[in-house]
C-alpha cells in the first residue's frame, strides 16, 4: 500500500529534475550525433 501513497514520479520535483537531466543528456547525444553525421 505504501507504493500507492507515493505520487507518480512526474508529479514530484525529483521527477522534474530527472526529466531535465534526461533532456540534457539526450541533447548532448543528439548534438554529438549531428556533429559526427555531418563532419
Amino acid at each position: 500500500m505504501i507504493d500507492e501513497e507515493k505520487p507518480p514520479l512526474f508529479r514530484t520535483w525529483r521527477g522534474w529534475y530527472l526529466a531535465l537531466i534526461v533532456a540534457l543528456l539526450a541533447q548532448i547525444i543528439f548534438y554529438y550525433w549531428l556533429t559526427r553525421l555531418f563532419v
Binding site: L20, I21, Q27, I28, Y31, L34, L37
Partner: protein
C-alpha cells in the same frame, strides 16, 4: 531604413515602454518596487530570466560567432540545466523562507555583515561594469548602422529603460520583458527563414545541415580541441594545457558552464531578483526548470540562424568586411583595398563554383565527388580567411584601433539584415536589437538598485528611515545606475568580441561569489572570517590569472578555480583559527 522602418521601430518601442509604465504604475512600497509583490506565475519568471540573460549582444554577436567559428559555442550552455536543478533544490526554498530582497541579505544571516557587504560589493563591481557594456555594445553597432552619434543611441536605450524601471520597478521589468522576448524571437526566426528562402533552389532544410557540415560549421560537440587531435605526438601535459586553453568544448561547457551559471543564477541579483518575484517556491522553481529546458534549444536556433546566413553568403558574395562603415572610414583615411577586393572577388567566384558543385554532389548522393570537393572548399576558405585577416589588420593599422578583427563578427548579422531584408522587417529587427538591450539592462539596473538600497544603504548607511524613504531611495538609485551605465557606455573603449568580453567580466568575479555562496549553503563548518579571507585571496588570485596568465587558462575555468580557492583557503584559515561557533542558516 525608410519611413516604414522608422515607424515600425519607434512604434514597437513606444508601445512596450508605455505598456510597462502604465501596467506597473503606483508601486506604493519597497516590496512592490523591488519584488513586484511576489506575484509572478512560473512562465513569467521563466521569460523574465531568459530576457535578462539574453542581451542585445547575444542576438547580434551569436549568429556572427557561428558564422566564423561554427556551432561549438552551444557547448557554453551545457552546464546550465544542471545549475538550474541545484539552485531549485537549494537557493530557491532558502531565499523564499528567509523572505530576503537580495541574495546577499542571506549571507548576513549565515555569516556576518562583512561577508555580505564584500559579496554585494563584488556584485556591484561586475554588474555595474557590464550594464555599461550591455548598453554600449548595441549602441556602437546601431550608431554605425543608423549613422547616428553613439551617444544618441546610448541615450535612447538608457532613457527608455529609465522611464519604466524608475516608475514601475521589478513588475515593469518583467511585464515588458514578456513582449520584448516575443518580438526578439520572432524577428530572429524571421531573419533565419529569409536567409533560407534566398538559398538556391533545390536546397531543402536538411541539406543545409549537410552543407554546413561539409564547410566545417557543424562542430556542435567537440570533446578534444583540434589542436590536440591534429598533433598526436604531444605529451600528456601539453594535451591538458591545450584542452584547458580551449574556450568552448564539452568539458569547459559542462564544468565551467555549470559553475558560471550556478553563480549567475544563484548569486547574481539580476537573476535572483527575477525568480524572487515568483509567487511561491513552486513558481520560482518551475521558472528555472523551464529555463533549463529551453535555453540550449534557443541558443541552437540563434546559432543556426548564423549558419543560414553563412550558407547564404556561400552563394551570394559577402562584403570584404561586414563592418562596411569601418572599411569606408579606412578608405577615407587613405587605405587602398583595390587589390584585396579583386583577389576576394576571384576567390568568391572559385568558391561559389565549388559550392554549386558540392550542392549538386550532395543532391545526387555522390559521396566520392563530395570527398573530392570538400578539401578544395576548405582550402579556398582558408585563403579567404587569410585575405580578410590582412584587410582587418590594414584597417586597424590605418585607423589606429586595436581589435578590427573581432569587431567584424558582430556586424555579420546586422549587415545581412540591412542588406537583404524587406522594409518594415528591417524596422522590426532594429526594434529587436533595442528591445534586447532594454530587457537585459532593465533587469540589471533594477538589481543594482536593489542591492545598493538593501545591502549597502539600508543596512550600513541609513538604518532607521521610513519605508517610503527607502522606496524613494530605490527609485533614485535606479535612475543613478541608469545614468552611470550611460556614462560608462559613452566612455567604453572597443573591447574584444563583445559577448566574450561580458562573459569574461562575469568570470572574473563569479567564481569568488559562488565560493562564498556554496560555503554558506553546504559547509556548516566554515564561519564568517575564514570565508571573508578566502574570498579576498580568491579574487586576487583570479585577477592575477587574468592579468598575468591569460594565455594559459581560458576564462571559463576561472569560475570553478575562484570557487575552489575560496573554499580551500577558508578551510585552512578555519583550521588555524580558534573555535568560534555561531551556526547560521544552511540549505537542508
Amino acid at each position: 531604413m525608410n519611413t516604414l522602418d522608422w515607424l515600425v521601430m519607434f512604434g514597437t518601442l513606444a508601445l512596450i515602454v508605455a505598456y510597462g509604465t502604465w501596467k506597473s504604475r503606483g508601486s506604493q512600497n519597497i516590496e512592490a518596487f523591488l519584488l513586484g509583490n511576489k506575484t509572478l506565475p512560473w512562465w513569467m519568471v521563466c521569460l523574465s530570466i531568459m530576457a535578462t540573460q539574453a542581451s542585445a549582444i547575444t542576438f547580434l554577436s551569436t549568429p556572427g560567432q557561428a558564422y566564423e567559428d561554427g556551432m561549438r559555442f552551444l557547448q557554453f550552455y551545457f552546464g546550465l540545466p544542471l545549475a538550474m536543478i541545484i539552485l531549485s533544490i537549494t537557493a530557491v526554498p532558502l531565499y523564499h523562507k528567509l523572505k530576503v530582497f537580495t541574495a546577499y541579505e542571506y549571507l548576513e544571516t549565515r555569516f556576518d555583515l562583512k561577508v555580505r557587504t564584500l559579496t554585494a560589493f563584488f556584485f556591484l563591481m561586475l554588474r555595474g561594469l557590464s550594464v555599461g557594456i550591455t548598453i554600449y555594445a548595441p549602441s556602437l553597432i546601431l550608431s554605425t548602422i543608423l549613422g547616428w552619434n553613439i551617444n544618441a543611441t546610448t541615450l535612447m536605450i538608457g532613457l527608455l529603460v529609465m522611464v519604466y524601471t524608475v516608475s514601475g520597478g521589478t513588475k515593469a521589468v518583467s511585464l515588458t520583458q514578456k513582449y520584448q522576448l516575443t518580438i526578439i524571437m520572432s524577428g530572429m526566426v524571421l531573419t533565419g527563414a529569409i536567409a533560407f528562402y534566398h538559398l538556391p533552389e533545390g536546397i531543402g532544410f536538411m541539406d543545409t545541415f549537410r552543407l554546413a557540415g561539409e564547410t566545417g560549421k557543424m562542430n556542435l560537440v567537440t570533446i578534444i580541441p583540434d589542436a590536440v587531435t591534429q598533433n598526436p605526438e604531444l605529451g600528456m601535459w601539453e594535451r591538458v594545457k591545450l584542452t584547458l586553453a580551449d574556450r568552448y568544448n564539452l568539458i569547459s561547457g559542462l564544468l565551467g558552464g555549470l559553475f558560471l551559471f550556478l553563480s549567475y543564477f544563484g548569486a547574481d541579483q539580476s537573476q535572483v531578483g527575477r525568480y524572487l518575484g515568483g509567487s511561491s517556491v513552486r513558481e520560482s522553481r518551475l521558472g528555472l526548470i523551464f529555463n533549463g529546458l529551453l535555453k540550449i534549444p534557443m541558443q541552437f536556433v540563434i546559432l543556426y540562424i548564423g549558419i543560414l546566413v553563412f550558407l547564404f553568403y556561400q552563394f551570394n558574395q559577402a562584403p570584404l568586411l561586414h563592418n562596411v562603415h569601418l572599411k569606408q572610414k579606412a578608405e577615407q583615411a587613405g587605405a587602398q583595398f583595390g587589390d584585396a577586393q579583386r583577389a576576394y572577388d576571384s576567390l568568391y567566384i572559385a568558391r561559389h563554383q565549388k559550392m554549386v558543385q558540392l550542392n549538386e554532389a550532395i543532391q545526387s548522393n555522390d559521396a566520392s565527388s563530395v570527398d573530392a570537393i570538400r578539401p578544395e572548399i576548405h582550402d579556398l576558405q582558408q585563403h579567404e580567411r587569410a585575405l580578410r585577416q590582412r584587410v582587418k589588420q590594414q584597417v586597424a593599422a590605418t585607423l589606429n584601433i586595436r581589435e578590427a578583427d573581432s569587431q567584424d563578427k558582430d556586424y555579420v548579422f546586422i549587415n545581412f539584415v540591412m542588406s537583404y531584408l524587406p522594409h518594415g522587417i528591417i524596422g522590426l529587427l532594429m526594434a529587436v536589437v533595442f528591445s534586447a538591450a532594454m530587457s537585459s539592462s532593465a533587469g540589471e539596473m533594477n538589481a543594482l538598485a536593489s542591492t545598493t538600497t538593501v545591502d549597502i544603504y539600508r543596512r550600513s548607511i541609513n538604518r532607521h528611515a521610513e519605508p517610503l524613504h527607502y522606496l524613494k531611495a530605490s527609485r533614485w538609485l535606479t535612475a543613478g545606475w541608469a545614468v552611470f551605465a550611460m556614462i560608462f557606455a559613452s566612455l567604453a573603449n572597443q573591447a574584444e568580441n563583445l559577448i566574450q568580453f561580458v562573459n569574461i567580466i562575469g568570470s572574473l568575479f563569479y567564481g569568488t561569489i559562488l565560493g562564498v555562496f556554496l560555503s554558506a549553503f553546504y559547509i556548516k563548518y566554515l564561519k564568517a572570517t575564514p570565508v571573508f579571507i578566502g574570498a579576498v585571496v580568491a579574487e586576487l588570485f583570479i585577477l592575477y590569472l587574468y592579468f598575468f596568465q591569460r594565455e594559459a587558462v581560458a576564462f571559463l575555468h576561472y569560475n570553478y578555480i575562484g570557487c575552489l580557492v575560496v573554499i580551500g583557503v577558508a578551510f585552512l584559515v578555519q583550521m588555524l583559527l580558534p573555535k568560534n561557533t555561531t551556526p547560521g542558516v544552511t540549505a537542508q
